[in-house]
Symmetry: C2
Subunit: 217 residues, 2 copies
Amino acid sequence: MAGLTLDISMSLDGFVAGPNQTLDQPLGEGGERLHDWALALKSFREMHGRPGGETNVDDDIVAETLGRTGATVMGRRMFSGGKGEWKHDPNADGWWGKDPPFHHPVFILTHHAREPVIKQGGTTFTFVTDGIESALEQARAAAGDKDVAVGGGATVAQQYLMAGLLDGLQIHVVPVLLGDGVRLFENHLGDGQAELERTGAIESPTGVTHLQYRVLK
Amino acid sequence: MAGLTLDISMSLDGFVAGPNQTLDQPLGEGGERLHDWALALKSFREMHGRPGGETNVDDDIVAETLGRTGATVMGRRMFSGGKGEWKHDPNADGWWGKDPPFHHPVFILTHHAREPVIKQGGTTFTFVTDGIESALEQARAAAGDKDVAVGGGATVAQQYLMAGLLDGLQIHVVPVLLGDGVRLFENHLGDGQAELERTGAIESPTGVTHLQYRVLK
């Protein structure tokens, strides 16, 4: 069965978004600095339909991650690009545009049932109202023999981790201290403690360290 | 002038001690797991007056860190080995024993003035009641051209970081999730955000990743 992996950028002090998130600033103050390392990469640009870009160890990691990912689960806030409810016309393109960067089926955890949306480039958005296990099951069926990625945000990542459903973590540790914001690892995860096996630690030319772990069960 | 560096073991979820610290369990529940990687190393055993031990990349890092450290500053709780006040007879050996593992001058931040204590093997304990800058100044004078280490705990590390006095961080990221405990990086550090330059990321055979940063000022 395909694995469930979390792939996320985190500041050294543990934040995946800065403080004061708004619809205009969904990553919070300073939060965009967590993603700067990826923006110029060939594989990242390709996801977004843009030519060119850098090829280096960062790009290898992003390309490898994209290549083995067949479906994504994400929270409603990440889908709608902010803290507010999803207020857009269901037929409009919304936060992720006409041609979202996923290029595979995406399952969105929400309390609001909604018809699926089929976008250009292979992305579909399916809205799941009956919990994280149902979303995972649907995503696994859609992913075939590829992995399922937890796209975020932090709350959804924590839910999967607490439920013991995550198989792997890939954390891009960005050399910055945000001081405040949204933590990836809030206190009281599950029944306390979890054991990991580190499978890789890769230095990048941008100062990011890519930490890879398998969750031991 | 000698640099001020923080050298500390941290769980992937950001804790430097587990929950429920007591005098009998000063590292809290599960906290000793953060230090397991170091216990068998040659350089660590040597610090504690024991022969033998493993030599590997972990040992190289510990030996290098010890070699460039000429003095340590630490908090009272770390000195007294728990959350309680220092209740021991000043002439007794206390938490760190007759021959403490530092083998250099140690400066303890406290509100309680006390005469210095001279131990075997080059360790002296000097009690500083007038704040972190005074402790640093005294430690720098004692260290000569070597570095000063912030020995911990987390509160003292945060005070030096918030004051902009730290020059370097070496964080040993241990592949474990503690779920709760004492965070190295609490929210609202200083006036928010700090920039770091990663100077090293070293994989260890034990699954620990040694992340090294210079604090940019």
